[in-house]
């Protein structure tokens, strides 16, 4: 038994470069139960981060009582992380689940039945359609539903109503991943694979605290580091994360300066001739566009702007330039910071310069934050059109119109899709009057919360919220719909390296709760959306019909699911798309042949100017004739818009901890995870804290131009001048009533963040803001931050170590079977 709260990554199983990662099966059951007590195990995958670990759910007497990792799954080889182990089942089997629809009567939310709740939604929807048309409707969904649910929602919005105002909270976590791949390669679609970890000589983590965001993936890296021929590790992160502690080179850049660093790295690689000129000539376009952007960024200039050592920049470039096989992974440190798309495209560019793409160990993982974010993007529940289709390509619109049997004009393709922040802006201005939020909690997760609360509270906004629990957002709803959770419904979803998993229903949802799919299908039926030939637009009986419809939609596209079925996904490992006649076993890596989906008839996007977001447009794109070649894109460095000054002297940045997910709706209800990180804190460097007369645990007020929060300080290993805040904490579980009221005792990280987004990906900028810090009270104890993660105290021994005790114990079975193999390497044009 291993305490997996104290030991987040579990027991090491080192392996050598090129070998397969050994199996280790992690299992946990409710207290007092043993394996013999389990009635049955039900196949699924974890939905608490984008890693997508294969998981079996233990069921006893109709309830979920534990989980174990699936040994044969190519994603996790049996392992699970703390969130999967403790929150996936405990997070949903709680007494405070919503079991009945609620409607607002005389200002109060009261229980009602489904007919009444749906009638209220449908009558408002119909009246607004009549009066204002479809642009009065907005949908804000999640990165945590299933593929079939997103596709249903996508069809409702795009073929039923015809509104461009659809987005997911994926906008907050993965929009830049998609945008960077569209700009560089013509389409969304992850080039690399997790197996690149097994093969690489060096791994670069750009703003990616993998050790905490995808703990099982980091365990794979740790096992490479612990084995023969360990890879070099380069980490770009302002905090001394677990990744940084294992890095050969750590570049603790000032938040907001990523692009200067990337320009510097590219400049070094080119000047030293570490480039593959043949590859560049044969497979890329616009190499010459890089020159004027990178020219000023000597290692010394980078050092001055980013606050890192010039020698470390040179060394990082040397590692990239001279290793045979490099894997790069990118996440929020880039995606949620200034010039996000331009910086992330520079990561793609580094690989293109060296022709290191689509070959074993030569991977790019433009990561996702959430478990099913990939499907939000694929299925069209966000701004994108289903199947990576291009809103500017009339042929693609025609395909969808034929597939759905609707008029092309219904499908909103006459303007760029509306991104989340703009949807909220339209609601603020009163032109969106109907907003349906599913499986997300913007009252904690959107930037600049004081403003978001005002928008949600607007009396003229009809707000539908669909969730498992009452949240900070449901407070403002006119109708609350109780949704079925993971394990209570069947469906599929796809992780960050394209691996598709089936998640089967294990237990019944509580009370009257219904799957999100059933709710969307019911809305479509009641709205009487019809095809041109008069049939119901969505006539699916259940999720499998939805999956089959999606297969049709994906046919011939990069994300081709035609070779998959529920039957095919039962029993074994998840399978990475494309899966079709050409690739019957799935596809481990894309672009091994150096052919990219940039043909004008294939491309998902014609691209943008990365500095302004101006669209290139079809004519200019066709004139450029990329025809299968990748495109070098970036922008001049500008830096963050809000930087420290005399009044607000610190740089403020937000992020995650290993023990929580999103706004803790599930993880906060797992006792082990809750106890490991029970309440809000902020992190500061020791010298900064001392200068303000602050010690560990002292309570401070952190204030930006938009709001303030109160939290105890952890003196941690973070670069000076920077304040870090975890974004998980809101108000639903505050200990005393004053703390439940953001007016009285604000504590959410997003009280301070600013409303600003990347010009291309439209991802909000959460990682740069200017703040000031003042002490408000002496410590009553250390800050409630874990000691096992990036928030470990700067000085050891003064704070009790984070442990799980008996409740944190997990059984680990090492190498019970041979490791699974990923599909053979194949190429696809």
């Amino acid at each position: 038994m291993v305490d997996r709260i104290a030991d987040i990554w579990g027991t090491r199983t080192p392996f050598a470069q090129g070998d397969r990662w050994p199996v280790r099966v992690d299992q946990v059951l409710a207290k007092g139960l043993s394996e013999q007590d389990v009635d049955r195990w039900v196949q699924s995958a974890c939905v608490l981060c984008s890693n997508g670990c294969g998981i079996d759910i233990a069921v006893k007497d109709g309830a979920m009582v534990g989980v174990r990792g699936r040994a044969m799954d190519i994603v996790n080889h049996g392992r699970l992380g703390p969130k999967g182990l403790f929150a996936s089942w405990q997070g949903v089997s709680n007494k405070d689940r919503l079991t009945q629809p609620l409607i607002r009567e005389n200002g109060e939310l009261v229980e009602t039945d489904w007919d009444t709740a749906m009638d209220r939604i449908v009558s408002r929807s119909k009246a607004l359609l009549e009066e204002k048309g479809p642009l009065s409707h907005g949908f804000y969904t999640s990165g945590q539903l299933f593929l079939e649910e997103y596709y249903a929602l996508g069809i409702i919005g795009k073929a039923g109503l015809g509104t461009p105002h659809m987005d997911g909270n994926t906008r907050l976590c993965t929009a830049t991943a998609a945008a960077a791949m569209k700009e560089s390669f013509g389409s969304d679609g992850q080039p690399g694979s997790y197996t690149d970890i097994d093969e690489c000589d060096a791994i670069f983590l750009y703003g990616h605290n993998m050790a905490e965001t995808q703990t099982v993936l980091w365990a794979r890296v740790l096992d490479r580091i612990g084995g023969p021929n360990k890879p070099m590790v380069v980490c770009v992160d302002p905090r001394s994360t677990e990744v940084a502690r294992h890095a050969d080179v750590h570049l603790p850049v000032r938040p907001g300066t990523n692009l200067a660093l990337m320009h510097g790295l590219i400049r070094e690689v080119i000047r030293n001739g570490w480039i593959d000129e043949e590859y560049i000539a044969a497979h890329t376009l616009r190499f010459e566009d890089l020159a004027d952007k990178i020219e000023p960024w000597t290692p010394e200039a980078v050092a001055a702007e980013c606050g890192v050592d010039a020698a470390a920049v040179v060394e990082a470039a040397r590692i990239f330039g001279t290793s045979q096989r490099v894997l790069s992974t990118v996440l929020q440190g880039f995606y949620q910071s200034a010039q996000a798309t331009a910086s992330s495209c520079q990561v793609n560019n580094l690989h293109l310069l060296r022709g290191m793409i689509g070959k074993p160990g030569c991977g790019i993982l433009q990561m996702n934050g959430q478990p099913t974010a990939q499907n939000t993007r694929e299925a069209g529940a966000d701004g994108d059109l289903p199947g990576f289709r291009n809103w500017e390509n009339p042929q693609h619109i025609k395909q969808l119109a034929e597939l759905w049997d609707v008029d092309e004009l219904v499908i909103p393709h006459w303007a760029p899709p509306t991104h989340a922040a703009q949807i909220f802006r339209y609601a603020e201005q009163g032109s969106i009057k109907f907003l349906w939020i599913s499986a997300t909690n913007p009252a904690v997760s959107m930037p600049q919360l004081p403003r978001i609360r005002e928008i949600l509270a607007k009396p003229e906004l009809f707000l539908v919220v669909q969730d498992l629990y009452l949240t900070e957002t449901t407070q403002y709803a006119d109708v609350v719909l109780p949704a079925a959770a993971w394990g209570e419904k069947t469906g599929t979803f796809t992780n960050v390296n394209r691996t598709v998993h089936l998640s089967e229903q294990a237990v019944e949802p509580p009370g009257q709760a219904r799957s999100d799919l059933r709710i969307f299908l019911d809305y479509s039926r009641r709205m009487d959306f019809r095809t041109k030939s008069g049939r119901p637009l969505l006539d699916w009986e259940g999720p499998e019909d939805g999956f089959n419809a999606w297969r049709e939609c994906s046919k011939g596209r990069l994300c081709d699911y035609t070779g998959l079925s529920y039957e095919r996904l039962r029993g074994g490992s998840g399978i990475p798309w494309p899966v079709n006649e050409e690739h019957p076993d799935g596809t481990d890596r894309l672009y091994g042949d150096g052919v990219f989906p940039t043909h004008a008839d294939a491309a998902e996007d014609y691209g943008h100017d990365l500095a302004t977001g101006a669209t290139v447009g079809d004519q200019a794109y066709k004139a450029m004739a990329p025809n299968g070649r990748a495109i070098f894109k970036t922008a001049l460095y500008q830096g963050a818009h809000e930087t420290p000054d005399g009044e607000y002297p610190f740089r403020y940045t937000t992020g995650r901890t290993a023990y929580h997910f999103h706004t803790r709706t599930k993880t906060g209800r797992s006792p082990q995870l809750h106890d490991a990180a029970p309440a809000m804190w902020v992190e500061m460097a020791e010298s900064d804290a001392e200068a303000l007369g602050l010690g560990e645990g002292d309570v401070v007020r952190v204030e930006s131009r938009r709001g303030h929060l109160f939290a105890p300080v952890r003196t941690a290993n973070i670069r000076t001048g920077t304040v870090f805040a975890p974004f998980h904490y809101g108000y639903w579980d505050a200990a005393d009533p004053a703390e439940a009221d953001p007016q009285q005792r604000p504590r959410a990280a997003n009280e301070l963040t600013l409303t600003e987004w990347d010009p291309v990906s439209k991802q909000p900028v959460y990682k740069t803001a200017a703040v000031r810090v003042t002490k408000v009270a002496d410590a009553t104890g250390p800050a409630p931050a874990p000691t096992t993660t990036a928030s470990r105290p700067a000085r050891a021994g003064r704070v009790l170590a984070t442990v799980g005790g008996a409740a944190g114990e997990v059984s680990e079975t090492i190498a019970p079977t041979e490791p699974p193999a990923a599909p053979r390497d194949e190429v696809r044009s």
Binding site: L135, P164, T612, W757
Partner: protein, 153 residues
């Protein structure tokens, strides 16, 4: 030689555009993308003015010529408000930007005729940026137009 007339026209219109970008930024602070981009595009226009200085030093610049001004492009006196107001303000910027753009085109033709490499270099750099400004304005207007014209109150 009449080039100084066009250099004057270019200088003035870049200046007007810079001021107008700044005005729209300040007037539409609730649209963060408009706010931040218009400010940096205003800076860009000012850089264009700077880039013209050495050229102007060589050729001179004529403030007023004998041709009467028929079309007055004085910039935005005030910004509007609301969704349609934003659309109109962006549209005015587009018109001012188009004036700058076509003036660069005319100056470029002259530069080629004069085989003036320095001027050609300045024109090529700035003209591309002006085009991108116009493309951004058009992208942003395409996004704003349906909502402003159909549902906004």
């Amino acid at each position: 030689m009449k080039l100084p007339i066009y250099l004057g026209l270019l200088h003035r219109s870049e200046h007007t555009l810079a001021e107008s970008f700044r005005q729209v930024a300040d007037g539409h602070g609730d649209e963060p993308d408009v706010y931040f981009l218009c400010r940096s595009l205003a800076d860009q226009c000012e850089k264009h003015e700077q880039a013209l200085l050495p050229i102007v030093e060589r050729y001179g610049e004529v403030e007023k010529d004998d041709e009467p001004e028929r079309l007055h492009a004085d910039g935005l006196s005030k910004t509007r408000s609301g969704a349609v107001g934003l659309l109109r303000d962006l549209q005015d910027l587009y018109l001012l930007g188009s004036l700058v753009d076509i003036t660069w085109t005319a100056v470029k033709q002259a530069a080629q005729g004069l085989r003036d490499a320095e001027l050609l270099e300045v024109v090529t750099r700035c003209e591309g940026e002006t085009k991108t400004q116009l493309e951004w304005l058009s992208t942003r207007m395409k996004q704003a137009a349906p909502q402003a014209l159909i549902v906004a109150e």
